[in-house]
Assembly symmetry: C2
Homo-oligomer: 328 residues x 2
Amino acid sequence: MNIDKYLIEKGKIIEDYLKAVIPSDDSIPILYSGMRYALSSGGKRLRPILAMAVAEAVGGDYHDVLSYAAAIEIIHNFTLVHDDIEDGDKTRRNMPAVWVKYGLAHGINIGDALFAYAFKILADSDYTPRLKATLLKILSNTVFEISEGQALDMSFRNESHITENDYFKMIIKKTGVLFSAALEGSALISGANSDILQMLREYGRNIGPAFQIRDDLLDLTEGKGRDAIGNDIREGKRSLMVVYCINKCDEHTKNELLSILDKGREKVTNDDVSRAIEIFRTSGALQYAEKCCNKLAQRAKLAIQQFPKSDAKSLLTELANYIITRTK
Amino acid sequence: MNIDKYLIEKGKIIEDYLKAVIPSDDSIPILYSGMRYALSSGGKRLRPILAMAVAEAVGGDYHDVLSYAAAIEIIHNFTLVHDDIEDGDKTRRNMPAVWVKYGLAHGINIGDALFAYAFKILADSDYTPRLKATLLKILSNTVFEISEGQALDMSFRNESHITENDYFKMIIKKTGVLFSAALEGSALISGANSDILQMLREYGRNIGPAFQIRDDLLDLTEGKGRDAIGNDIREGKRSLMVVYCINKCDEHTKNELLSILDKGREKVTNDDVSRAIEIFRTSGALQYAEKCCNKLAQRAKLAIQQFPKSDAKSLLTELANYIITRTK
């Protein structure tokens, strides 16, 4: 299984599908072009690819899950559009964020339109009413939990009492549930039995947080295609490394770190960012996050050990490996 | 039929229902209290009341449409939360707007959570899968059209070539479709036949715009419980009166009006607002808007003339009268 080839191949399919379902004209000015812009900025398309992989892994046809996979990817992008406004991020995947390009007001509205469009795709799909009702339940719960996760994430800023449990509760909602929804919904569409569903749930419960911790770590190196390296530090985000330091560092180091994080994003200097990263390194927080990430991926891979088809198992295993080793 | 009593009675029922379905704890800080705040600020509850009225009008039980009616009202409130940010409105129903009370970032997220919650209520309802799938189609199309209407509304600002057709296209999407969704969805839940559905569609197509034109007019008197009278003028909104003046006034008057509307909301003085209202009055725009509003209500009432039950007909007639005579 060449995972890079798989990602490119399936990524292209979902890319074409998205282009085909999103309005291609400009009869509603700004809105339609804004929707296309939000969806065209690349991205790994990891969630819909996971949905397609699951369809194949359980012996189904990936074509059958395309509507659902597109809805998942559109929901993901809607959250990015609003998150960028909420976090004040001006760049996304090395391009101006939607709200920067179209203004705040249209930015919010473009996000809302994407949100509605995801549900419209589900409504207009060929799935049976029973399946639609089930997928509606998954998707609506998922989006609501994402907003809960975002609320927690924002509430954690300027907060110095955050446990690892708090952190995991937050990232499971903010990031994990959409991965799980991609896996579970696709398995249901593909007619998977309850054993398989259970395995995939456990798999998703682990790769979601693993993905997020890798994201936390990537912010310190490649900068996730945003303004700069250490954006999360500038925003005062409570990453796993921050939570580790809050609970494990001596009072002095902890306070030094918090004083950088809580400065307000405009005031944080590049030196501050370097110092925070140094604290992460010397305290063992970086190593700890790496370890957590690997442990979660191990658990995900373990969860699918009993998968009936060996090529399916190998595909999902490779995807879990990709998630924790990716560099962007 | 005492319409005031009916509105109070049914308004109370939907009020209680909303309280019961929305999270009542604070396990997700800010988010849950923000959702309650957004929903608790009063409002006429006109859309869910219309849904309940339709259920009764077609011989159904209003209890059966409560989930759907609540979803409709929550969607309405989600749009208000985001509209206030997009328009820069700081007050809603004489209270601080959600984004003013909770900050911009949480304001956007609270709106998103309400949006998701409306679909969650539909997903968790007792409706059959087939009915859920149909209502999902109505609601997702409706919310998408609302975002289209909002995009048009915002694009019209600073625009001097707007026809009455443009205006109606915009308000039908921004306001009309949610009224139609309340009526049509409720009729479907209540098992109405296709003749009745057709009558209600025509009724909705007319009371929606009538409601919006009354809203445009109310902005010039009671101020809709927002910052001040003439808020729409300060925002440069293209109301029906503005569209009338753009197309019917002499060049000089038209330019004078546009120079006020396009100043930017902070720069518009109370004198400017008075002058704009005077232009609306002397040009005949006010009378024209009143006439349009009445004509639409007449058409709505005509649409339900063949309604089988006379008390149902009288209820829907009274509701149409209320919509065009309301003073808040």
